[in-house]
Amino acid sequence: GIQVEQSPPDLILQEGANSTLRCNFSDSVNNLQWFHQNPWGQLINLFYIPSGTKQNGRLSATTVATERYSLLYISSSQTTDSGVYFCAVEPGTGANNLFFGTGTRLTVIP
């Protein structure tokens, strides 16, 4: 099956710093989503981004489907950004479900 690798696995930032999270995937995809899981376990959909670039406030994401990677940018990080960021993809073979990476655990310290 499709492999989804995220890096780095862990990241500690000072409040106000910027960061880039990466997601590599091993095959073509129909769907790619970024999620934030907060410390209470709730998964929030950040972006639906199978290709191109999107921005939402301090967050933006870029997917280069032809090169099989996606990037999530966090600018001016805040303590509320802490949690685990997951990349999830639906293979182009039409599996009709998302396969999740192992996540990047972000800790933002004041």
Binding site: Q33, L43, N45, N96, N97, F100
Partner: protein, 114 residues
Amino acid sequence: GAGVSQSPSNKVTEKGKDVELRCDPISGHTALYWYRQSLGQGLEFLIYFQGNSAPDKSGLPSDRFSAERTGGSVSTLTIQRTQQEDSAVYLCASSLVLANYGYTFGSGTRLTVV
């Protein structure tokens, strides 16, 4: 409803008992998905529904697991003869149509088998 609702939020059960987990998706969402997340791990896909139909059940870990969806709305995940390795958070998500839209997740059911 406004979001995906799951119940119960927490369930502690004795090994060998059956449990039933419920998911109420966003109204109008035709696709519904079940995932499992063990402590500190990523999400493991279990099953999806398009309407009331579950075309692929291969993600279910064993024949003790079953799921159904009725009326294109509420879904239940049943685990029979629970084992300790079934302990995890069971997450449900829904999307407007199958796959090609963003998922909305519920808050999950934390299952502990003692």
